[in-house]
Amino acid sequence: VNDRDEESRPIDRWAEAVGWYSTLRAADEKDLTSTVGRAWQDWYADAQNRRVFDDVSRLLAGRDLYRRRSRPRKAELAQDRYDLSIPIAQWLGANPKHETKKRRSPARGWWWLFGGFATAILLMVVTLSPLRFRSNGVQGDSIIYKTEVGGLKEVHLQDGSRITLGGRTKLLVAFSGQRRSINLIDGQAWFRVVHDTARPFIVTAGDGTIKDVGTAFLVTRDSDRVIVTVTEGVVEVSARQRLLISPATDQELTPRPVRAPIRISRSEQLAFGDNGAFGSIMPTDTRDATTWTRGRLTFDDQPLRYVIETVDRYSSRRIVVDPAAGALRFSGIVFADDISEWVQSLAAIFPVTVVQGGAVVWIEMRPPSVVSR
């Protein structure tokens, strides 16, 4: 196919926009200001490109609001006669029977919106105060550490503290004279902290901050929650505070805590969700909590979707679980070097089907079987 001849067709503009969108999201920070950023600026300077890209980014910005769906059935895929040559709207017009398929209204999405509205009112109140918010920004040097799928990494920090990173984990370390800040962006990490009263060691994950009081602790950042497990000493967990900067002096103000910090001690565990909900402190076996550093993933009565999120950090193939199956609860040990075996075995313990795709393994709720009479 000759690319040049097609360049004027709108669909190629859309495909380019889609490609750029994913490139921008995935690019390393350093490339954003140089190679990638410049090339994108040139492309975006074109008025038509700009219009399409803006549409694409608005649609994809809603990704978290869209309802999770089950994967199209094999039969549906096989029967799909749409060949991309004309826009879908046009094709549906010529094949109207496709459109008669009714799907459930997005009930879940509405609830989110109501929640959003409540938060909106809350934020309005907040914005009335004459303070400027700034995210937990650290000006000095910061270093990003990350691991690939299945990779474990031990990091020795300049203050003598040590961090073990789990698979597909990313964290940012920023030390200043006043504090040692870590932002756990994704994945799981075990922190063994050298205590220093003058420079608190603060881990931010999701919407919470974890402050050490001389200790070792684990933090897991799942897609919508954070789990803190203390293996030694005590930590304080509080809802995340943004830095408040006074507009008059440009100095940092001491923020009023949203709620009192929660202290967790050795052999205790606390989970908090991105919706601001804190669980209660649960007793936990510290040996179980650290087994992942030795290649064994231990779970105790966890929803399967979180189990899969963790296992997926060690699996060469992506594992995708459908929402119904994700709600099943799992207890047990998964060996990081034997994941495909474990995934297969799920079909024996749960009412699920394990479908092997090319790059992905799907775990789906088995359709209710026909009862034999």
Binding site: I11, W14, A15, V18, G19, S22, R25, A26, E29, T33, G37, W40, R50, D55, V56, R58, L60, G62, R63, D64, L65, Y66, R69, R71, P72, L77, Q79, D80, R81, Y82, L84, P87, I88, A89, W91, E99, R103, S105, P106, G109, W110, W112, L113, G115, G116, A118, T119, A120, M124, L128, S135, N136, V138, S142, I185, G276, R318, G358, A359, V360
Partner: protein, 194 residues
């Protein structure tokens, strides 16, 4: 249905050099940078941070820093300076935000409270239109959309999963998004015709 408004230009000095205390050359340079880079920067950062509001705040802060430079240098230096500063500021905010939070920040601020109810309805309608449109996607386009958008797979992974090339995976998604947008656009037209 209203579209997201174009980002406002920051209060940059125009040609009134006396009032701003800047040399005309410099204010022209700043105006040019603002004209050529402001909207692009906001869009660029909104992709990274997931929020237009965050992006605007960051860009305004970056422009403020640029304005504060003692010796500004050439236009191309200033342009790359403002991009660099903005990207650095954005790194701090890269954390995924709660989606309620994200949605809340897309609403107008406190002084225009009466409009927020209206835009909630708009956002809700918009979402309902997109949801319905997703339900109408042909199976393979739906699969590409699900894998890439809802499950976060890369195009490489999508292409392996669907047994097609990366370029084709991209095209499936492109057709899907083009369709979703066309549904929104035609709803806009019906809305304005009423």
């Amino acid at each position: 249905m209203r579209r997201e408004s174009t980002p406002e230009q920051p209060g940059l000095p125009d040609n009134s050099a006396d009032a701003s205390g800047l040399e005309p050359e410099r204010s022209e340079a700043l105006a040019e940078i603002s004209r050529n880079h402001y909207a692009a920067l906001v869009r660029f950062l909104s992709v990274r941070t997931g929020s237009v509001e965050d992006a605007e705040e960051i860009v305004q802060e970056a422009f403020a820093k640029m304005l504060a430079l003692d010796r500004p240098g050439t236009i191309s230096f200033l342009a790359s300076y403002v991009w660099r500063v903005a990207v650095n500021l954005a790194i701090d905010r890269r954390r995924q935000r709660k989606l309620q939070d994200q949605y809340a920040r897309s609403l107008p601020q406190a002084e225009t409270r009466e409009f927020s109810a209206e835009s909630t309805v708009e956002a809700r309608e918009r979402l309902a239109i997109v949801e319905r449109a997703i339900g109408n996607l042909p199976a393979r386009c739906l699969e590409a959309f699900m894998l890439h958008v809802l499950n976060g797979l890369t195009f490489n992974e999508v292409s392996r999963e669907m047994g097609i090339s990366g370029r084709m995976a991209q095209k499936h998604l492109a057709r899907a998004l083009e369709y979703l947008q066309s549904c929104l656009d035609s709803a806009d037209q019906i809305g304005s015709a009423r």
